[in-house]
């Protein structure tokens, strides 16, 4: 039953992702993508990775989606413009071809690789363990991540701030 549920969730997730990629309305795309992110986090939950699941929702739904939505709203000229003009046929075809090729290769690899039979009683990592691991083995990486986040935040602010550009161009 769990597998069936999982497959269902997977299908929903994939559908919403695919639809999001196809839609013209960016806002809808984003909202659908949020759905698919939540779907992925459900997968995490099922895999016993509570922490990651919640973190995923917190980061993607709470933060990334907000940034994306802001970006969408800040970069549109009019409502009509938001419907992105249909892309050229050739690019779509080539994109699908490329993605299809990758998919073929991946699926080939996944399906033809002999997997360990039987479900191993996988580890259940509680938050404390993760914390210990993060602060112990991966302390350096954690620091680097912290640095990256700080720099990214500041960089984002600097890049997106209007001070420099407005002097040069001014509003149209």
């Amino acid at each position: 039953m769990t597998t069936a549920l999982l497959i269902l969730i997977a299908l929903v997730t994939l559908c919403s992702a695919a639809t999001a990629m196809l839609l013209r309305n960016l806002i809808h795309s984003v909202l659908l993508l949020i759905g698919s992110w939540i779907g992925v986090s459900v997968f995490y939950l099922f895999a016993g990775a509570e922490f990651v699941a919640f973190a995923q929702v917190l980061v993607y739904v709470g933060a990334v989606s907000m940034v994306v939505l802001f970006a969408v709203l800040l970069t549109r000229r009019s409502r009509a413009d938001m419907a992105v003009s249909p892309d050229t046929q050739s690019r779509a075809v080539s994109a699908v071809l490329a993605a299809g090729a990758v998919l073929a290769v991946l699926l080939y690899a996944v399906l033809l690789t002999p997997l360990p039979s039987g479900i191993s009683q996988g580890p259940s990592a509680n938050v404390r363990q993760i914390g210990t691991e993060l602060m112990g083995t991966h302390a350096a990486a954690l620091l680097v991540i912290g640095m990256i986040l700080t720099v990214a935040t500041l960089g984002g602010v600097v890049i997106a701030s209007t001070d420099g550009a407005s002097k040069k161009e001014g509003p149209k």
Partner: protein, 105 residues
């Protein structure tokens, strides 16, 4: 056909990845391209978790830790990427990726 949760996860993630890839390749809106890339990242994260949980030699918490890092990096990427998008938009009043071919402002 699918008789193992790992396989399920892997197929799911492959599909997700390819959807993201197809989106990133086909759409001209740079925000959507970024979102496609986010999807691909998610697919990769899913693989981490899947291998951590169902993989042959499960390590204590490495998979989760890596996902945590990956999520953090994804957030950073989104922030910087979208800031760039805004900046590009401000320069050429468009966020179509085909038009963003010049390095010089």
């Amino acid at each position: 056909m699918i008789h193992h949760p790992l396989e399920l996860c892997l197929v799911f993630s492959s599909l997700l990845f390819c959807i993201g890839l197809a989106g990133a390749l086909s759409r001209s809106n740079s925000i959507l391209v970024l979102l496609g890339i986010e999807l691909m990242l998610n697919a990769a994260n899913l693989n981490f978790v899947a291998f951590w949980r169902y993989g042959p030699s499960p390590a204590p918490a490495t998979g989760i830790v890596f996902v945590a890092f990956s999520v953090a990096v994804a957030a950073a990427e989104a922030a910087v990427g979208l800031a760039l998008v805004i900046s590009i938009y401000r320069r050429q009043r468009s966020i179509r990726l085909q038009e963003a071919v010049r390095l010089k402002g």
